[in-house]
Symmetry: D2
């Protein structure tokens, strides 16, 4: 089989999910390219070596530019903090590499726009790791909508609730905590959690026209791990907005890290004229489905256990009733990417899709600042 040499930039949480996906995909999917874990890049050499040993990378680098320029590399996978995405992606595109980028694409739409320009001008396959599209139950939701089962859409609602930053003792910045440092992350939950909700929402329900948002930073100062000093917190801890989609439906969106009791509760619901769908990341194999066309007295929410061979991606795994988990969504994205990449193409969500999400998050942050309904660009 033809090889696809991977240059991975970043070795953190996302470095692991991506590496695992490349390493497992051919055990489960028939794909036209065999990924090879060629190079892992980290600024710290010891960490790069340890990661390479753990995952079987053939080599290491400490300067991402060397990876980007290496003739041995086919695809650059960006799994480093948000503030590095733009520069690496543009360089990779210019070097003619395919590019896979962790979400959000840029720290804001301006950055993302440059990135889109770069990959489109270079004509390289690209994708953004909004992995939740490829939870089988979510992909199934998309199928049901595309089949027209819901009819006219009236409502959409999504939330992503966590509780891991409630303590005032938690510092900001540095290893493992860069998501609390606004300079690195670009924003707080808006880019981290809401962006996931928005990507799925626009995939399922089309574009968003305008938003009215509010954000809050509940804990105003935290010790900064880099300076060692107590500094103002620049990120948003919570971000909520009302939206009107282009199709006329109304929505509520909410993300927060201050919802005690929830670890990663991403839920979405869509209500149509004929049918409704509900999904929940904490119960990721279930799709709740209500169909008004069912016989009157037998109408009820169906709890679909999306583990059958005729459900998306599932014939590649085990047998009905047996679950897969979080990491498999990345494997699905790699499987789809390899299929497309063999023909020189990327897969959705592409950089252009990622930019669309960033336009919404920009509008959310602007609306929160101006306290006005804000059109999405």
């Amino acid at each position: 089989m033809k090889k696809l040499n991977v240059g991975m930039i970043g070795y953190g949480f996302m470095g692991r999910t991506h590496s695992n996906a490349f390493r497992k995909v051919t055990n489960f999917f028939d794909v036209p390219l065999q990924p090879v874990l060629k190079t892992i890049c980290a600024r710290n050499e010891d960490r790069a070596k340890a990661f390479a040993a753990k995952w079987g990378y053939e080599g290491i680098e400490t300067d991402w530019r060397k990876v980007v320029e290496s003739p041995d590399i086919d695809v650059i996978d960006i799994a480093s903090p948000n503030d590095t995405h733009r520069e690496i992606a543009i360089a990779a595109a210019k070097a003619g590499k395919m590019v896979m980028c962790e979400k959000p694409l840029g720290r804001n739409a301006a950055e993302s726009e440059e990135m889109v320009d770069a990959v489109e001008k270079a004509g390289v396959a690209n994708t953004v790791w909004y992995n939740y599209r490829r939870v089988p139950a979510v992909t199934m939701a998309k199928q049901l909508i595309d089949e027209g089962r819901l009819g006219r859409i009236f409502h959409y609602r999504a939330k992503f609730l966590q509780d891991w930053t409630i303590s005032t003792e938690l510092p900001q910045g540095g290893e493992g905590l860069w998501r609390l440092d606004v300079n690195v992350a670009g924003s707080g939950v808006t880019g981290d959690l809401l962006a996931h909700c928005i990507d799925t929402a626009m995939w399922l329900n089309g574009g968003i026209e305008e938003v009215s948002a509010v954000t809050e930073t509940f804990i105003k100062e935290r010790k900064h791990n880099l300076s060692g000093k107590v500094e103002p917190v620049g990120i948003d801890d919570a971000s909520l907005f009302l939206a009107r989609f282009n199709n006329g439906s109304l929505a509520t969106f909410e993300a927060t890290r201050y919802a005690r009791g929830h670890k990663a509760l991403y839920t979405l619901e869509i209500n149509g004229e004929h049918a409704s769908i509900f999904w929940d990341l904490h119960d990721l194999h279930r799709l709740q489905y209500f169909d008004h066309k069912d016989e009157g007295k037998l109408r009820g929410w169906r709890s679909l256990h999306i583990t059958d061979g005729d459900h998306p991606y599932m014939k590649n795994w085990w047998v009905p009733g047996l679950q897969i988990g979080y990491e498999h969504t990345f494997i699905h994205q790699v499987a789809d990417f390899l299929q497309a990449a063999a023909g020189g193409k990327g897969v959705a969500p592409t950089f252009r899709d990622g930019l669309a999400t960033d336009h919404v998050t920009d509008a959310v942050l602007e609306s929160a600042r101006t306290r006005a309904w804000t059109k999405v660009k």
Copy 2:
């Protein structure tokens, strides 16, 4: 409207549920007879008076024979402890009264047989208060089975789990605790909880052919409230059995008061060739229904919220989505009884149905004693 004068024997928990049912039924159901709370009978005069005041009974008695013999009374409702059922019911039948009797009918099938003989010989309308048949979701289950939606039945399983007698400090016998006194109750959970499961099961799935059972008394001695002394406990604390129904399906049944965490968890499930049904008393308005005839990828358990106008009994209550509770099952039984009684008939479960359940509980207790599969008479 024609009146139906009620003579109530017993003022405890069941005296309340029955009185409430008689008092409310005409506010919600169009029935041909208007129940009148004529006489409440309790051995203790003060209690009888207090109960009469609370519920609006016109008069009281302390000797049930006077109520049975009174020409003012049309129906005798037996809500007193199990050891009184036989004598009162037979006397009432002989006096030509309709008879409604709390479950179980007798303390054993021998007692119940005499009671059936009495009401059938007298030709008086009769019923046993196995109220769970008239939870709307359970009645709905019966409808679905009668419509043939399940096909050949393979499995039935029921359990009734409580945890209120785990403490060794709890005494047995006397006011409020006669259910722990084997002489009064006849048996422990077998007659108290399993009897409910069996009544519903035979209604939904037909007769039971044979059983293999085990019972246990976890706490062997308790203070007896009447003697004031520590005495052996004669009741079964837990009762479990395997069964084969006449239709060839296999079943597990279990009742216990030692299942920590469960207050009144009566659940039942029936699995057929084409469809399955699950119900749970702690979520009494839901009927879980799985239909294999649904489109393949959309098969799932449907959570039917049995609150619509086309669901059993529900058009008489509020609006879709709004729940009724435990007490309403008794009102439904009264409503059905009044309808039938106007034509001189009783309603199922009749005394004969109650006897059928007692034949099963007798077989369960015998099987537990003999450690052998036992045919149900």
Copy 3:
């Protein structure tokens, strides 16, 4: 026992829930006043008679003014459409009667303000039937919050989802459909459903400072039952808003009659620093509770089955594990009202509390109109 003579205005859905509450309360609660169903008032004499027969009212009237002026009446209970509340309540107060009023208090805050003035000037006991405060699980939530278990509050979210008006064939106005007629109802789901959410929210979480709202009328024209002609629809079909409470917490609120699959799904959640609470009207006996102070590895949402004797109101009903339903919330309100009324007082939510809710719904509608954040008066 001292009597409390009730004059009931209105015989619809709410006339039934209130009548049932007055009729049952003394069977279950020890209260200092015995309600007497004295007079039912309906414009249509036949309907008044039928209702009186069904519920046991001693007399009927077709002109509410006669009821208000009657020396036989102690309390006026207003269960008629929204456009009648103001006039009746003010007249009742002037006549020195206690007043109980269905929600919302007025069609808008201006009407409600006059009503508050009237009852406060007259010094008569009063209450508004926001019945969901007295679902035992909701009352329990209030207790937990008052005990300080949640700490600083970060988030509140509530929604009330229905799906009964999706059909374009459904007419507006007239018998049973006045909720779709803006002149009678004052607004659509804002006053009907959101008002419930707001009343509970302010009880649990204090006052609301400002809102940003959007409303929509999905079906723009419907046949009007009174004119017989197709007319523009004036009500809001859906109403969503973001809010900031006085305590700094952020909220989303949503109500709609276009959420396919939901009959009366009122849910609320509140997230505090230490603990969180979730409740759902479709599962009304459950209170979901998460307490961060639990031992680390054993932290989880607890599903509290609010049916025990030490849970609010429940010792008056059956035994642990056995459920009550929707109608019981009204009985609880009557029980509390009778207790207070014996001392000349009303109970919360009083007319003043009802006005506070109307200030919020007014702000919501204004914000939707102006597309701006709007302060609550």
Copy 4:
């Protein structure tokens, strides 16, 4: 790191789960041995080659004896049908190899006894793949029991429900369907599904003293894939039993492939004096836990999401709230096995534990045959 060379016998469903486990373990766990996928053995050479290519095995064999005898192999992993377990395991032990064997150990206890003798005489590390012990939530249940949180145990109940063999059209025997061929499988659901329930039960609750069982073959004849003829079905389609554990607790067990609507619903519950636990394979990350020592009014079933760093195995995976799936249980078993094997030891469940389960399944089948309570050897 020291290598552990794996010789895998079998390339079916279990061949995949095991290969995946060996391949992934070092990416996530720090273990003292590095597994090497050395040889895959299948009778059909093409299939062996295809499997080797898919999973990265270095070589193939078509005769398991060659693998067993090869000096290159450290551990023999038996993932072939049940009728091959005995012979391969004994030969492997004699050859001094470590042995890992798919469950059930033998087709009956007699076979298993020989296998235990062989590995114990040879002193080789061994384990049986009862993988469900290592679902993090199940391992957590064991911890809670070992910590004494449940107190005296009263009840245990387990069931494993499937519905994949209901069609009369399904043949028996041959590729993928050997589980329906009694000669190959040894028994039907008793050895396939109940064995899982029994292994977990004895781990959590100790030995089983005696059982009363019933089995049924609902479809009596099926086409046999090997003979091409319709032949009697020898396996049990359903198997149910009552049990008494050595600790005095009572139990119901049930397994069936005729429970319409259930794909792989393995549930277990254990009720103790102080606390209860419930778990369900369809929701494998949740552990339901009820603790009577909680404050009275706040007692409820806690839904523990077993995804935190202080939960078993979970610190090796992702972050709190993100799920793993079915396949990970095998990875956990390999991780534990590698740890032990470095010191020359196997891990529970060992072959001796597997034999204990077979003694129970033998007793179940005997009890079903003799219709008598049967002691477990």
